[in-house]
Symmetry: C2
Subunit: 496 residues, 2 copies
């Protein structure tokens, strides 16, 4: 069978055998040594094991955190392998909810603070909106602007993705209100009414988001989040508009007409909602959308969908925000997933966090607030995170990690496709860009069983949506890791 040949260890087709590299990188020697990456998983106990359970019991005295899965030995974890406190060594394709860019204990990260100035930047954290350090502009330029989405020449750092989106929303509203005022200064009534959250200073505006989207957990970003009820229930939130994000039938090449129709339906619906908002309120000032709905079930959108959304935003002169918090930083084989979409021009705002290690937002110059202190908080980011990101981006370049991710992503997606063909009762809708891949199971129960059994054989993966397995390996995930993952998944599927 084709399937077996793609990732089988038996090497029947000349595809290289499962062989893990012994070293993570060629970075020069550092103070802290990085041992070689393990060659394969090694399971000693169930997960969570007894030590994890004991630590969870300790932690539970201080916080209700039943979401904790297991405790990790971060000193021992290396590259793609996470080692838990019970000594279990697992291939990690979930990587701290997709937030580990170049694997555990990468030498480039361990040496990032070796210089005096880096350490002083770390411990003397400034209020960057008022007293930035001497090298701040250079650092922003050399690090964040070096990977700025084309056409976006403005950047502001934040601490997390939620805060980045909240500030992006402010830019949308400012842009809208600036137009409404025709450029005049704030008047007394506006300045006074906003102090008690009343119109006209506090206007009735909103952001359009999509069913299945996830944009964070602070109040405005949570108002735009619609992926799981447990994120939202009991929290008072603005009644902002929600529209449909396409739901495609897979394999895509067999449902071209249906999926095109789905795009057109969702685009028409979005335009309708935006149009109506001007009559009924709240007035939509912008659209927030993920390139892949990465919490809500790894729902992809076509280029037509993302291009069409941009057209609608331009037609209504509202802001097009692409939330790259989970997709950004390389896992799709490009630094930004939206680079795949062949947009006529860049989105107006791109937000990021996770693999970028710092939160933040890129945006167009037209969105620059005219008045100071409008996009502001005490810290406005953290220089220490840019020092780490600098090391990450240099490593991505020196180790060709985007190309490597594309290659291993191809192995992954081919393998997933093959497995769904072989196990059509269990798996369907394999999809992905780069290593940012997912596959659906027939039921939630099946998905959870697969995830559990994968863990038993040494692979730590995650789910999203109701039935999806989502793959979120680090950028150092190579073809051999993909083969290993697929072999393990095959083993699990065969056991059913």
């Amino acid at each position: 069978m084709i399937s077996g040949r793609i990732f089988s260890l038996s090497n029947r087709t000349g595809i290289p055998k499962f062989q893990l590299t012994r070293k993570l990188s060629s970075v020069a020697a550092t103070k802290l040594e990085t041992p070689p990456e393990p060659t394969e998983p090694r399971m000693l106990t169930a997960v969570p094991g007894p030590k994890s359970k004991q630590l969870h019991s300790d932690l539970s005295k201080m916080q209700s955190m039943d979401s904790v899965h297991f405790f990790v030995d971060y000193d021992a974890s290396v590259g793609n392998y996470i080692v838990d406190v019970d000594g279990n060594t697992m291939l990690d394709v979930f990587t701290q909810i997709s937030s580990v860019p170049i694997g555990y204990n990468h030498p480039a990260l361990l040496s990032a603070f070796n210089s005096d100035s880096a350490m002083r930047a770390l411990v003397n954290r400034p209020a960057l909106g008022v007293y930035p350090g001497a090298d701040w502009a250079t650092r922003l330029n050399q690090v964040l602007m070096s990977v700025a989405p084309q056409g976006l020449d403005q950047v502001t750092t934040m601490m997390c993705g939620s805060c980045s989106n909240e500030n992006a929303f402010k830019l949308m509203h400012f842009y809208h209100m600036e137009k409404e005022r025709g450029g005049r200064a704030f008047n007394q009534q506006e300045m006074e009414s906003c102090m008690i959250n009343q119109a006209p200073g506090t206007p009735d505006l909103s952001v359009l988001s999509f069913h299945g989207g996830f944009h964070g957990r602070t109040a405005a970003s949570l108002a735009c989040t619609h992926s799981k009820y447990i994120h939202k229930i009991d929290v008072p939130l603005a009644q902002w508009q929600v529209s449909d994000f396409p739901r495609y039938k897979y394999p895509l090449d067999q449902f071209v007409a249906e999926n095109n129709a789905e795009d057109e339906r969702c685009l028409a619906m979005a335009e309708d909602v935006i149009h109506n908002s001007r009559k009924t309120g709240p007035t939509i000032t912008g659209v927030i959308v993920e390139p892949i709905q990465a919490e809500g079930g790894d729902h992809h959108g076509s280029n037509r969908w993302f291009q069409g959304l941009q057209d609608i935003c331009k037609k209504y002169d509202i802001i097009y925000l692409i939330d790259e918090v989970q997709t950004g930083g390389g896992p799709t084989g490009k630094i930004w997933c939206h680079e795949w979409f062949e947009l006529a021009e860049s989105p107006d705002i791109v937000t990021f966090s996770k693999k970028m290690l710092t939160g933040g937002l890129y945006h167009k110059s037209k969105l620059r607030p005219k008045q100071p202190y409008r996009i502001f908080n005490t810290w406005v980011g953290d220089p220490g995170k840019l020092i780490l990101l600098d090391a990450v981006l240099k490593t991505i370049r020196s180790e060709n990690l985007l190309e490597e991710t594309s290659k291993s992503g191809t192995v992954l997606l081919d393998g997933l496709t093959d497995l769904q063909n072989r196990f059509p009762g269990y798996l369907n809708s394999a999809r992905g860009r780069g290593t940012f891949c997912a596959i659906n199971c027939d039921t939630t129960d099946r998905r959870d069983k697969i995830l559990n059994q994968l863990r038993e054989v040494g692979v730590h993966a995650g789910g999203c949506g109701d039935t999806a397995i989502r793959l979120r390996p680090a950028l150092v995930f190579k073809e051999q890791h993909a083969h290993l993952f697929l072999n393990k998944l095959e083993t699990v599927l065969k056991s059913f």
Copy 2:
């Protein structure tokens, strides 16, 4: 004159002469050297100087950040002295908007990451709600719980103050809704309606805040912020209730009856608003209040006020949240400012950030969410910040910084009081706890002139509210620094 004697360099009363210590601390030698603290300010240019202006021009190409005041040489800044890129050495009594706990380049901070495990904890940032490190429970216990407000045995870390408050609000709402449901599980309608921000899953609840308060800039915390219009204008926000925070007449001992009446008026108003919220909605589930309204003008509240608020919260079984983001970590002479208030029991929640270096919230066990993933985000804090906080708290203990802060605070407040007696046309309402002091000017213009002239003579201070000068030195601010500050302020006042 008494005033002169308190802080004059002429040492007429045996009060020690202005003599700065030459070393910051007795911490053992570290890799990175900390030079001696300067003995006095040294100004070479206007502020911002030419180098700051050039860097601002560079930065302005990438972001609209006209709030930037000057650029800082963080390698050269030491202890209480900030050195800008033009070589100006200023006594810093604003300290990055009150967020520097033990001064610049403290040896304890520079050596905090000297161990392998600390460096690995820094660069392998976990998703703490799912995969905490082996030492996480111990670290939470030894660091954060070592300074937990009495009676609060639960703690969760966050990245900033805004996010800490947002999560505190969730705990308030969860507590209320749990009571409403009488402990039953969520029903289908609740789970479905919350996905589109509709009742009953998204209930009409609110948090009571106070005029003049500041609690952050994400949507829910911004809804509770009422200190400056520029924070709020054009941002759509929930129309939550606002009530009055006392405004006292100073000196307090001359206006006892008036100020008591002000407390009673504000308490009655708060109770009224809470009571009415049950009839009109949104239903108030908790109260958020600062121990000192630290952005809105350094408005203090009496013990009676804070005790009375607690009584009202208990009467209505709603949550009492004290926001210690700016006051926490020692500047008032106690780790938590609310320790001064002689409350019958601890508040239900205390939020923190800034000098604590990590955001977060302490709360009572009764507020533990029963379901996982309700107080959650990707990172849930940052172990690297706890490593720094550990060094800070150890330094506070080893260098007796709370006592030192109390002593230098006494010098400061006595001096400010004396200055307002000598310059009654310019200054009034001197107030403070520890070094967390403020004084009002007769006009906003005067305040701004004083701040500018102080800077010209080498003291970097900040304002808040309309007319207040706020003092926010680090905890290493000693009596001699207080004398120096007062001398400089006297010089400026004499020049008018």
